[in-house]
């Protein structure tokens, strides 16, 4: 058997343990966990694990903002971000920010969340509690502790938690035969609103990219996410904690950035907010998001502001949305005004030409005028809209002939 096994794996690797890296690098000294990341043991019904508590004071700055300012998240707007009205009835202090560090990204039952980072506001400070499984047998205690913290809060805030963290934790609770306390808990996953508001400006909507572009945070010396699993495996094999503090720092920064991102996203949605800094393109998207959540008034105000700005592209988009909003509400005068403005600025604006043609055909009762607009539109149209326009043109010409015949 030995030989066959050797045949399978190739010779010379049989006795080697772990990756071929020196046991200690950098400072050259084996650090204990307590030295590297001061914390304490926690005991609960799930067993024992290691817990680290840090307080980030309200006067600290993260990017352009004070921590105490992050706690001023408007819960009405948070409920818009989450698409869940339940958040309306909660306080910002009910929020539990959650971020896990795992043994891999492959997913499946063999991936473990060895570090569960949790954060919440106490007064104006942010409290961070990080639960660490020093080995696989401490996972039960980490999960139990997470359950206990969660009972004190009302909802969770994550970044990509729907697809990743919560999914993974669900598996871990099942694997440990524990009920999943996350089930049914309201969840604000910041990735989705962040994508809706910013993806047109950013190549990637990762937390790192948002930090740089939106929060004004630049990390230095941060451990890259893909390196984290192997650092944990090294700790498991060699008991050297020197690399661990980097993982804890990384996790804590992620939590802090999530709190900041929630606040910024809320601000962007706030029509009363210091919106001067919000780029018009983002304003249009904020308007759309609000409209999709049936916050019509606030959405309209964003669009009106964007429609009045100097950014042509954003203004055109905003006017379009706005005119449709007026149209749906039956506010025809305002809709007509916007379309006229659009054609005034750009006589080849297909959207406005078509809408005006529709109006003159069905409401204004002047088919000749509608035909004129349709012919204008045909000059700039292409693709499938051509068919629609030609049908309209045929119909209008028929109408006009019929009227001519009557007259």
């Amino acid at each position: 058997m030995e030989r066959l096994l050797r045949g399978l794996f190739g010779t010379g690797q049989m006795g080697r343990v772990g990756p071929a890296v020196p046991l200690c690098e950098g400072r050259g000294r084996h650090l204990s966990l307590r030295e590297a990341v001061p914390g304490e043991e926690e005991e609960n019904e799930g067993g024992t694990c290691y817990a680290v508590r840090r307080l980030i004071p309200g006067k600290w700055r993260h990017g352009g903002r004070l921590v105490r300012d992050l706690a001023r998240l408007d819960m009405g707007l948070a409920s818009v971000l989450a698409g869940d009205a339940v958040l309306n009835e909660m306080r910002v202090h009910d929020a539990l920010f959650l971020d896990t560090e795992t043994t891999g990204l492959a997913g499946g039952t063999g991936t473990v969340a060895f570090l569960v980072g949790l954060a919440w506001f106490e007064g104006e400070d942010l409290v961070v509690r990080q639960l660490f499984a020093r080995d696989f047998d401490e996972e039960g205690a980490v999960l139990s502790s997470l359950g206990a913290v969660l009972r004190e809060r009302g909802f969770i805030v994550t970044f990509n938690g729907r697809a990743f963290d919560c999914n993974l934790l669900q598996t871990r609770f099942i694997m440990n035969r524990l009920p999943n306390p996350l089930e049914g808990v309201p969840h604000l996953d910041l990735l989705h609103p962040a994508r809706r508001l910013f993806s047109h400006r950013l190549a990637s909507c990762s937390l790192g990219a948002l930090e740089e572009a939106v929060l004004g945070v630049r990390r230095s010396g941060d451990v890259p996410g893909w390196e984290i699993p192997s650092l944990y495996f090294r700790w498991l094999r060699h008991g050297d904690a020197s690399a661990l503090s980097a993982i804890f720092d990384h996790n804590r920064l992620d939590l802090l950035s999530m709190a900041a991102l929630a606040r910024v996203l809320g601000e962007v949605l706030d029509p009363e907010g210091e919106g001067e800094n919000t780029p018009p393109g983002v304003m249009v998207r904020a308007g759309r998001l609000l409209l999709s959540r049936r916050r019509i008034d606030e959405g309209r105000r964003h669009l009106e502001r964007a429609a009045a700005c100097r950014d042509d592209e954003a203004a055109r988009e905003a006017r379009r949305e706005l005119s449709l909003l007026y149209k749906r509400a039956g506010r025809w005068d305002e809709a007509l005004r916007v379309w006229a403005e659009m054609v005034g600025e750009d006589p080849g604006d297909l959207f406005a030409l078509v809408e005006l043609a529709k109006w003159w055909e069905h409401r204004g009762g002047e088919p000749a005028r509608a035909l004129e607009l349709t012919l204008e539109a045909l000059k700039v149209a292409s693709g499938p809209s051509l068919d629609d326009l030609n049908r309209r043109r045929g119909r209008l010409e028929k109408k006009i002939r019929r009227r001519g015949g009557e007259g």
Partner: protein, 787 residues
């Protein structure tokens, strides 16, 4: 000319003396009456009504027996002929249980996606009549992402394949919590397919399934169906590793069948060469098709599928241009949409004839075919009956023609037809503890659930493997548990269908800028089918391989029209790594154990269509392939051989001839596929080897690298070994049957009517020399001499 019905065609054939001269046996299998049994009293009224509406008033006796056993919670393997209503034996108890307990779940495993689709539709038809909401879904690589969650939660019956269970379901078992906590039944159809490597993998996947079921505190009942094999119960128990009850007496009626054994005439008595089986196969099939009799032709290799398809199309075209489209080829390597198109064409009658490998042996619905032409013995009795069963599932009369090739197996059957008709079919063998396979599944199992100290997983020492994997850094032990501790997803590293998951894609580069993938070839056959210079055929179109790029896993080809095809030549070198057991006989040392086998493709023959004429050779430069496997061998001390009245090269020919006969007989006695085994003649140290095949003679030996300089005094060894890395468990069986094998080889060679050796006994004389038959018998006499 009026078209004939099958019955008319048959009576015409039976009056045709030239045809009947080559027919070695005609067996008329009479129709069989049904044996019925009543529905058991517990069967739900709604279910009875649905079955009655489908014409099922009563059950066949075997169905009643099977459902009763399942009802008692027994694992069952059902082994009855094609079209005997096996699916009802699992659908009935499963649906019954779902009607009784709404949350019940069942998992169905089929070896292919196409079969899974077929089965899903069949169950859905039953469910549609029940007026109950019972979700029946397939779950495989084609399932859209947005449907997966619903299937996981709502599917009462999930129809999938072993590969998906292995990579998609078990490693994500927590997402399938609903299924596993309610899993009462696991259905495994086409059980006989899971033998050899595939079976050994499946046994391990089932070990993993059992672990996961234990975690959810379930112990499902297994219901298995198999084609007729010799050891269905033993095979099921080997796969499931739990007791299984056998139901083997069919109560289903069957239609009349006429079975011809056809031996092509000898065309060169001197060389013992018969007419190629391809010639009568295409002639008979074309004749049937011209009479609009739906016909399936089975060929033994992918290459022969292509050659035969071309022959048939050419023949039909000559008779009636435009008819070529009524025939299609069908084999592994065709892209799925092409296969689906052919299957549909067969069902709706647009395609009347199909030439297939055993890919169509399984129960894919291809409509009613009346005739099956088997071009060459498929290698096992079970496969033969399975292929024969593809004709005449419902019609009153069907025809099967088995056409022999020159191989010893085929010829043995022609000479002993009663042996074929009376014989029990083959044994299925697996070796789930093949270390190469086992270790891969231990990794996947650890990913799914940590291993506990004291746990078992197969027959090998699990702890030793866990420690080894811990040393490799993929497992981590804490307390009494081993946890997966790597970032990778181990199931992705293993393909159940072969040892090597790599594939080579074949790209048609005829038009620059319009490259098109036309087929896929598994890594191991790539070396022999798409090497530089090869003619590769798809749908009987020819492509010349311009370059095989092993780094990119791609073969670049361009379309050509040539009058030849190519056949690769390999050499094999064997060295002994470890002897498990040995015994010294009077004139030989017989052993079995571990071997290192090195093989290399050195060149290819160009063979002309129709005549089979050798048009020349080409050289190929591909890397050697190493394999560790298990084998059986025996060594003859040279002093005995020196006593024989032949020179050294004649003795070497004699040994090659003995190896040839032994290889075929071993496959036959083991009831394994010929390709599951391989042979070599050489020296135990691996210093020296003998190249057999056409390369002996005209082809320069230096093309293989170094010309073997055979030492004066050496002790030659004949090796028979498992053709899979790690071995499949045949070698100890052969070791035990050494005496029997030598006796059978002697009888085969001595009773062969050829004068000096032919493909039916010692191999073609071109390959083994003109005195091979004589020297082989002398070597065998020496080996069998008792003190």
């Amino acid at each position: 000319m009026a078209k004939l019905t099958l019955a008319q065609w048959l009576s015409q054939a039976e009056n045709n003396r030239r045809f009947m001269e080559n027919v070695k046996a005609v067996k008329e299998i009479p129709p069989r009456e049904a044996v019925y049994a009543d529905f058991p009293p517990w069967v739900h009224e709604g279910l009875r009504a649905v079955l009655r509406s489908q014409g099922v008033e009563r059950l066949y006796s075997h169905q009643a027996e099977a459902v009763a056993l399942v009802r008692q919670g027994k694992n069952v393997v059902l082994c009855t002929p094609t079209a005997s209503g096996k699916t009802l034996c699992y659908n009935l108890p499963v649906l019954q249980r779902i009607l009784e307990e709404k949350e019940t779940r069942a998992l169905y495993l089929f070896p292919t996606k196409a079969l899974a689709q077929d089965q899903m539709h069949e169950v859905q038809q039953l469910v549609a009549g029940l007026n109950e909401e019972i979700g029946v879904f397939t779950y495989d690589g084609d399932t859209p992402d947005d449907a997966r969650r619903a299937i996981r939660n709502r599917g009462r019956i999930v129809v999938t394949n072993p590969d998906m269970l292995h990579t998609g379901i078990l490693p994500h078992h927590t997402k399938w919590q609903k299924l596993f906590t309610n899993l009462r039944y696991v259905v495994i159809d086409e059980l006989h397919v899971y033998r050899g490597v595939f079976g050994s993998h499946l046994a391990n996947v089932l070990r993993r399934l059992s672990r996961v079921c234990r975690f959810y505190r379930q112990d499902p009942v297994f219901i298995c169906c198999s084609a007729t094999v010799a050891n269905p119960r033993e095979h099921a128990e080997a796969l499931l590793e739990r007791p299984v009850s056998l139901v083997a007496t069919s109560g289903a009626p069957s239609a009349a069948k006429v079975f011809f054994l056809y031996n092509p005439p000898v065309v060169n008595r001197e060389l013992g060469i018969r007419q190629s089986a391809l010639t009568p196969a295409s002639k008979i099939a074309a004749d049937l098709l011209e009479n609009s009799i739906p016909t399936i032709v089975f060929a033994t290799s992918r290459l022969n599928v292509e050659v035969l398809t071309k022959y048939l199309k050419d023949r039909l075209d000559r008779e009636d241009p435009g008819q070529r489209s009524i025939v299609a080829g069908y084999r592994g390597g065709y892209l799925p949409e092409l296969r689906r198109r052919i299957e549909a064409g067969l069902r709706n009658g647009e395609i009347l004839g199909v030439v297939a490998t055993n890919a169509l042996e399984l129960g894919i619905d291809i409509g009613d075919l009346e005739a099956a032409v088997l071009c060459g013995y498929p290698g096992s009795i079970a496969s033969t009956w399975q292929q024969a069963g593809r004709a005449g599932r419902r019609t009153g009369l069907s025809l099967v023609v088995l056409i022999a090739r020159s191989s010893p197996m085929d010829q043995f059957l022609m000479e002993n037809p009663e042996y074929f008709f009376a014989r029990s079919p083959e044994f299925c063998r697996i070796n789930p503890d093949n270390l190469m396979i086992l270790v891969q599944h231990v990794k996947s199992a650890a990913f799914e659930l940590p291993f506990e100290a004291g746990e078992t997983f197969g027959g090998e020492n699990l702890e030793e493997i866990l420690e080894l994997l811990e040393g490799k850094g993929v497992l981590h032990r804490v307390g009494k548990r081993w946890h997966w501790s790597a970032e990778t997803y181990p199931a992705d590293e293993v393909s159940l269908r072969s040892i090597n998951p790599r594939n080579v894609v074949v790209v048609d580069a005829t038009k620059t800028g319009e490259h098109k993938v036309i087929a896929e070839v598994d890594w191991d056959s790539a070396f022999t089918t798409v090497h530089d210079g090869a003619i590769y055929m798809v749908e009987s179109r020819q492509y010349h391989v311009d370059r095989l790029d092993l780094e990119r896993n791609t073969a670049y080809v361009h379309a050509v029209d040539v009058d030849y095809y190519t056949d690769a030549m390999t050499y094999t070198k064997v060295g002994v790594l470890e002897v498990f057991d040995g015994r010294r006989l009077e004139t030989a040392l017989v052993e079995h154990g571990e071997l290192k086998v090195t093989s290399k493709v050195v060149g290819y023959k160009k063979i002309k269509f129709y005549t089979g004429e050798n048009l020349g050779y080409g050289e190929v430069d591909l890397p050697e392939k190493d394999m560790h496997t298990t084998g059986y061998w025996f060594t003859v001390p040279h002093e005995f051989l020196l006593d024989l009245p032949y020179n050294q090269s004649e003795i070497i020919d004699g040994l090659a001839a003995v190896a040839y006969a032994l290889h075929h007989l071993a496959a036959m006695t083991l009831m394994a596929d010929l390709r599951d085994l391989d042979r070599a003649v050489g020296e135990k140290g691996g210093e020296w080897f003998l190249r057999t095949g056409p390369a002996r003679g005209a082809f320069p030996l230096t093309a293989a690298g170094d010309a073997p300089s055979v030492p004066e005094a050496f002790d030659p060894t004949i090796f028979l070994f498992d053709a899979y890395p790690g071995g499949i468990g045949f070698s100890d069986l052969l070791y035990e049957r050494h005496d029997y094998l030598l006796g059978a080889a002697e009888r085969l060679i001595a009773s062969c009517p050829c004068p000096s050796g032919c493909p039916s006994c010692v191999g073609p004389t071109l390959e083994v020399g003109r005195r091979a038959k004589e020297t082989a018998l002398a070597v065998l006499a020496l080996l069998r001499s008792k003190p």
